[in-house]
Symmetry: C2
Subunit: 98 residues, 2 copies
């Protein structure tokens, strides 16, 4: 259930681009993009940015989704995932005021 992949696939289709073309324009192998859109491989941040530009979409939200997915991946099957996120949030907020 990769929400980022789904979103990027929708955006691509809305942009009227085939997988091949989108892959070519972003210098990536078609196979990889296919797998990424279906959540079989992880996106890289660089690719997300390239795709956002190609699809003329807002990149901020996509990057946030990208990061969120990365984080959730680290926490999958962890009993204390939620608690860990809370602690991380607290520390991040603190850090911002440094």
């Amino acid at each position: 259930m990769s929400t980022l992949g789904l979103k990027l696939r929708e955006l691509r289709e809305q942009a009227g681009l085939s997988l091949r073309k989108a892959a070519m324009q972003t210098d990536i192998d078609v196979a990889i993009l296919s797998k990424m859109e279906r959540g079989e491989r992880k996106f890289s941040k660089e690719l997300v940015l390239k795709l956002a530009e190609l699809y003329k979409a807002n990149s901020d939200k996509l990057v946030i989704d990208f990061l969120s997915e990365k984080v959730l991946y680290e926490l999958e099957d962890e009993d204390f995932g939620l608690e860990a996120l809370k602690v991380a949030e607290k520390q991040l907020k603190y850090k911002k005021n440094k």
Copy 2:
């Protein structure tokens, strides 16, 4: 500023164990433990659990710290780290009710 490393070092000292002994009892190289305590290398969850047991400390909190650190590591220098954490939290909560 590895809070997990600092905590585990304190716990070790409170347990009256030298780095060498703690390393031996957990089947790990001294050098690695030294580096982990000082944040130069990342802990593994397995080691955190072993150390918690060895030091007779509550492992839940330590695991939470461990996970939090792992998450923060992924988000370092990211502009939207906080937003990503919020999204991740929301998704994790949702997932729990599945």
